[in-house]
Amino acid sequence: MSTASDIHIDREIDARGSFCPGPLMELIRGIKALPVGGVVAVLSSDSGSAKDIPAWIGKAGHEFIGAFQEAGYTRFIARKLR
């Protein structure tokens, strides 16, 4: 199984300590700022992100690369597809 460190990340956003919908909003802004094909990671300690972030990525038509559990937070990685 791949880990977050195997993936090339263009931009990482630290949204730890931010509440729902903060981390999702950070991800949306981060994706907007990237060119198509770019990879963004967002760090979240909000328990809502586990479902919210993949749901948004699917709805927005991007690629959900994965959610990687770290100590006290999760690193969500997505690739901008359009």
Partner: protein
Amino acid sequence: MAQTSERMSLIVFSGTVDKLMAASILATGGAAMGLEVEVFLTTWGLMAFRKGDYLTNTRVSKDFEEYGPTMMEAMQAKQSPSWMENLLGAKEVGSVKVYACSMTMELYGIHLGDLEPIVDDVTGVATFVERAREGRITLFI
């Protein structure tokens, strides 16, 4: 024309911070998920959008009034964005329109210029209901 079935309509009647917070987060979620969000401000909800009012508004719902100070302190300590910041963020990521109720405006002598710039326009209830009728989600807060 936008896909009308993908519309979320929020009627914001309450002007207390707890309910405005809930409304702003729902608007954000709707906007993020690609819904066309329309917010109709009426009565105390409209009062909360008078210029600068949100900066000093610390009102909470009567049923949980004793939690008011605790809520405001927790929001400050954890640097939670205000409901106004959430709503501005919702506008930034998606389609969010904020309409003020013409009847409330008439009643209290409020003009569009007296309201926060986040308010897009003034509308009557019939227009709002007609647009909400085409939508999928309608909430009264």
